[in-house]
Each structure stands twice: as C-alpha cells, then as structure tokens.
C-alpha cells in the first residue's frame, strides 16, 4: 500500500514536472511558430505562386519561378558574388580574430584592450557605410588618394566604382566589423588549453611555431568549424553593409543573393519570385546548419 502510494506520488510529481516544463517552453514555442515556422512555410508556399506586392490575390504556378530563376543570366553571377563575399569575409574574420585572440591571450591585463577591440562590433552599419564612402570618394577620399599615389587606382577614381576593388573594399570592411566575435570565442577557447601541454612541449624543445601548429591549432579545430559555419550563415545573408555602401554596384559586381531578393521583392514587387530565390539561398544555408548540428552533437558526445 505504502509502496503504491509512493509510486503514485512519484507519478504525480513527474507529471507536474513535465507540465511545468511544457509551460516554460510555451513562450519559446509560440515565438518560433509565429516568427520562424510560419514565415518560412509561407515563404515556401509563395515561391510556387505568382504573388506580387501590387495585388492581394495570387495563383499557383508550380515551378515557374524556379525555372525563371535558373534561366536568369544574372543569377549565376550573383551566386558567384555571394560565394566570393562569404568565403573571403569568413576566412578573413576567422584569421584576424584568431591572430588578435593569440595576441591578447599572451598579455595578462587586457580588459581595456579587449573592450577596445570590440568596438567594431558595435559600430552601426550606417555609420560604417558613410565613413567608407567618405574615405573612398574619388575626389577627396583619403583611401582613394593613397591608392592613386601608390599607382593602384586611376586619378580621381574611387575603388567603389571599379568592380573588383568594390568587392574587396566591402570584404575588408566586413572583416573589420565582424572579427570581434571570432576573436572572443577563440580567446575563450585558448584560455581553456592547459599550460602544462605548452610547458611539456617547451621542455621537449619545440619552437613557438611548432607549439602553435601541433598544440594550439588542433585544440581550436572544433571551435573553428562551429565558428566558420555560423559566420557563413550570417555573412551570406548579411544585407545592410553592401546595400548601404555600393547598393550592389558597380554593374552588379557586388550584388549578392540577399540584394537580388530585395530588388525582386521591393524593386519589381515580385514577391513569389523573390521567395523562390530565398528558398534556394535558404536550402544552401540549411546544408551548413545540418553540418553544424551534426558537429555540435558529435562534440557533445
């Protein structure tokens, strides 16, 4: 009897705990349903329609938007731009973030310096865009003048008016703005590497480079993978900076898929077509996310 009563109480207790847990997650679930699941599903549905901002009704057109997209001669160019923008930005952010993390990891008292190094991360994109346009102005920009002086740019030319250099400027600015996040993560990881390993290596006569190559880098492998995946997703969908600095120009040389989506949506008002582009972009990034989740699970194990 007593055992049964205890079992019953335990069951009640478990049910209560489950209910409490469910109540706690309800706000998050609602948030996800309203702000993630619904928009994503609606976007996928729209991609199979001729929806336009100019009219409230729309009809199902199967894969027409996708056919149109893959027949668009400029789509491949924008995909290429997206790849260049993403790959170079991410590699640059990680490299700079790691370099600075290694630097501050060597110093004992770096609180002030660390805070200072975080400044780029909090600079508003609009301010950064204005300054970038100012310093690269063909008439009075200091960067343009300097590039002209060393012979890399024509007289009174702006690097933003030349296809290759416009993308390079954007990538450099993006690296500068985004390196603090990898820097912090790398720095936290570096703090977790035991000094004893370095001491042992030092006793064995390893050089600084050998210690970096054989001890530091292997310890940073998982962090780098996770960081790379996160940054790829964030960078590939980052819109503000490019739109504000070049608007996708010159000649579409900095137009990446998010700008194409924006232009299709709010330029030609073709919501359905724009949705199909975002589905393609989303699917590509989904592969990254799956990889990230699998990596996280394997790390946990």
């Amino acid at each position: 009897m007593s055992n049964m009563s205890l079992t019953g109480k335990k069951r009640d207790y478990d049910t209560q705990r489950q209910l409490l847990g469910i109540i706690f997650i309800i706000p998050s679930v609602i948030f996800l349903l309203v702000f993630v699941v619904y928009p994503v599903c609606y976007n996928i549905i729209l991609s199979f329609t001729d929806a336009r901002l100019m009219k409230s009704d729309f009809s199902f057109i199967a894969f027409d938007n996708y056919k149109k997209l893959f027949q668009n001669i400029r789509f491949l160019k924008y995909v290429k731009n997206t790849l260049i923008w993403t790959v170079f930005s991410v590699v640059g952010q990680l490299a700079l973030g790691l370099a600075i993390a290694l630097l501050i990891n060597k110093r004992a008292n770096v609180t002030g310096l660390r805070s200072f190094l975080l400044v780029p991360y909090v600079v508003p994109a609009v301010a950064l865009a204005l300054v970038t346009k100012w310093v690269t102005n063909g008439d009075y920009g200091i960067v343009s003048w300097w590039l002209n002086w060393i012979g890399l740019l024509e007289y009174r030319q702006s690097p933003l008016a030349v296809p290759g250099s416009a993308m390079a400027v954007l990538i450099i600015v993006n690296i500068w703005r985004s390196y603090p996040f990898p820097m912090l993560i790398y720095w936290a990881t570096l703090k977790g590497i035991s000094h004893e390993i370095y001491d042992a290596a030092s006793v064995d006569g390893c050089s600084a480079f050998q210690m970096f190559w054989h001890i530091t880098l292997p310890h940073l492998k998982s962090t780098t993978t996770v960081l790379a995946i996160l940054r790829i997703v964030w960078t590939a969908t980052y819109f503000d900076l490019i739109w504000l600095i070049t608007g996708g120009g010159p000649a579409g040389s900095t137009t990446h898929l998010p700008i194409m989506i924006y232009q299709t949506s709010f330029g030609t008002f073709q919501t359905g077509y724009a949705s199909s582009i975002s589905v393609i972009l989303g699917l590509s990034l989904f592969v990254c996310i799956v990889f990230y989740v699998r990596k996280t699970i394997s790390n946990d194990r």
Binding site: I22, I26, I30, M54, Q157, G249, A251, G252, G267
Partner: protein, 445 residues
Amino acid sequence: MKKMVVFLLLIVVGSMLFAGGGQEEFAQEEDDNKIVIWTNLTADAQAVVLRKQFAEVAEEMGVDFEMVTISFGDMYTKLATAVEAGNVPDIMHTNFSGAAYLYSQDMLAPMDDVIDDLGRDDFIASYLHVLNADGKTWGLPDWALHTSVWYRKDLFKKYGIDIPTNWDEFKAAAEKLMIDNDGDGKTDIYGFPVPLNATHVAAQTFYEFLYSAGVTTVDPKTGEYTFGSQKEKAREVLDYMMELYHDVSPKSSIEWSWSEYRNALVEGTVAMTLDMGAVILMSQTNNPEMLENLGCFDLPGPDGNKAASFGSGYAFVGSNSGDAEQIALKKEFLTRLYTKERAAERALSRPMFAFPSLYSAVDTYRQDPKVALFGEQIDTITDAFENNNWYWYGMENGLSQLSAQIESTTFFGETLQSVALGMENSEDAIEYIDQMLQEQISLLD
C-alpha cells in the same frame, strides 16, 4: 498530454491574433480626428516648411496631425508594406511615381472637386496632366522640377564657349572644359559628369538624353509601349552618353548620385552637370561665391531639335479610406494648404529645384530674394513647363504604375554601368532594358 499542449498552444496563438485585431480597431476609432501625413522629402528645409504649414492648418481646423518622413530610398518598401497591411496614410506628399503606385493600388481619392474649388485655371495645366488617369485627377500637384544643364558661366566666358545647340556642340564644349589649372598633366575640372548610380540616378540621366532624342517608354498620346520600336535610336543615345563618360567625365561618376555631382559643380571640379536646380541650394549653403557663376540651359536635341525633357514633381494625394466625413476632412486640410503664399513657400524651401504649381504662386516665387539672381533661368524653366514636352519615366501618357517600377529597380543602373565598364555592349544593353521594360509592363497587366 500532447493533445492538451497543442490545444493550449492554439488557444494562445488564436487569442494573440484576435487581441491584435481588437487593438487595431481601437486605434482606428481613437485616431478619427487625427490626420496622418507621410512625406518622403527628407531635405531639412522642405520638411521644416511642411511641418510648419501642417501645424498651422491643423490648428485652423482644430485637428491633430502626425507627419512621418520617409527616406526616398525606403519609399517603395514602406508604401508596399503599408498597402499590403491596408494601412496607407491619410495624406501623402510624394513624387509622381509614388502617386502612380498608390493609384494603381486603388488607394486614392480623386481631387477634381478640390482643384475646381481652388480654381482649375490657376494650376499649371501640364502639372495636372501628369496626375490624370481615367478622366480624373488623382492628386494636387505641389511643385515640379525640370532637368537642365547647369553650367559655369564664368568658364564659358573665359574659354569663349557659346550655349551648345546640338549634341556635337555639347560634346565639343565639354571637351574644351577639361581643364588642367596647374599644368601637372592631371585634369582639375572635368567637362561634364555622367552620373550612373544604380539607384534612380542612372535611369534619370539616361532618360534626359532619351527624351531629348525623342525616345519614350510609351507613346505620350496613346500610352502604347514604344521603346521596343526605338531601340536603334536608344542605342545611339547610349553610345553618345558613353562617349561623354569616357572623354569628359570623371571615372568615379559611375557611382555618383545626386549629392556627388551637385557637389562637384558647386566645389568647382566639373564645369557642367545635368541637374534639377538643387545645385542652387547646395551652393547657397556650401559655397555662396559660386552662386553668381551658375546658369542653366536645356540639353539640346541631337540635331538641335529637342523633343522633350525629363522632369517630375511632387503632389499631395489623399487616401480613399474612411467615410465621406473623413475624406472631406482630408480634402479641407489639403485645400487650406493651397494659398498662393503657402504654395510658394513650399517651393522656395528648395529654390530653383521646386517650381510651384499655381500661377498665382509663381509670381510670389519670382519676387523672393532666394531666387532673385535667377530671373532668366526661371523664365527658361517655367517656359519649358508650360510650352514644351516634359515627362517622368514611364508616365509619358499620364499617371502610370510603370514609373514606380522603373524608379524602384536598379536594372537601368546595372546595365548602363556594365556598358561604361566595357562589360557589355550597347546593343545587348538596350535589348536587356527592352526585355526588362516589357516584363515590368506584363507584370502590371
């Protein structure tokens, strides 16, 4: 248990949705006596005058108002989302394309009764024509702007250059004005910039040349699509523009927008530029010494006969939402804004850029010290408004959504920049523009 959770979630989500609807209704009831006005004028001087006049009129009528400024670049994004949400402002002060967009969405109330009350004859007829569709006038024109070539009178005099009368003379003048002041082999003053920023500016530059040569998007009389049948002429126009870009324009002008080319003239690094007269306010603000050196003339036609010019303007439009009483309230508000003093004051907030829509206000405008230096230029421009053809892209036949489609996209800019950079030839570029224009038209259908 799972069923219970799903049920709970449905109730919560449902109640949130209904709660939202209830709030909206409440807000609507509460705001009946308040007029919401959007303007996409973000030039400080104009916004200040508008706010002042709205406040005066609101006080006269005993109503509240809320003025929302929307940057020009965000205009279509905001309008599209407002239309989608059924939440357009009561009154909007916007350019002709914005008016066309709202008209196409069936969001506007016709304004013929207001215009008749104010005196139809006092409105410059060509301003009214632009806002016409289906036999009605869908807005009150506020002011219009006209594209001219603004130039340095002092340099023309110094180098013995006459006002060009055809495209050959124009290019020759620009070449003569490639000036190396200090003899270091580098050009200090360029003859004529060809600004090609993909957002708005490239299309505007191109259309001024197209119109001068007689190429239009649609037939001004019938509204039929005509660009496709004028591709050869359009290609010649593009080739000429590219010659100017390569020979007499700073290379960075490929990315120049309004502020860059205006600043270049005001600061003395170019000798001429296409502009709508905004260089005057910029000069008054940044370099007053330059003011007396500035003059304007119409870009000539290729062989001397200019077919038309590129121009636009701003209008007040009122939404058709609400009952008869609310619509009457909006119309009364607008009527009170159209005294000759107020109309002139609004135009004078950007002197020589904005020209008032009322004849009676033009007289007041002329007498203002801000434009006293430019009597001759005012004559040229007002004459063009009254007696010549002037169009806004896609609206050659009156109010058309096509203008919003052209204005909000960047395909003109991207294509023209590609030609300037040698990445595409002019023939392919014109083919692509034709294809894109036809696609835009088919989307409207």
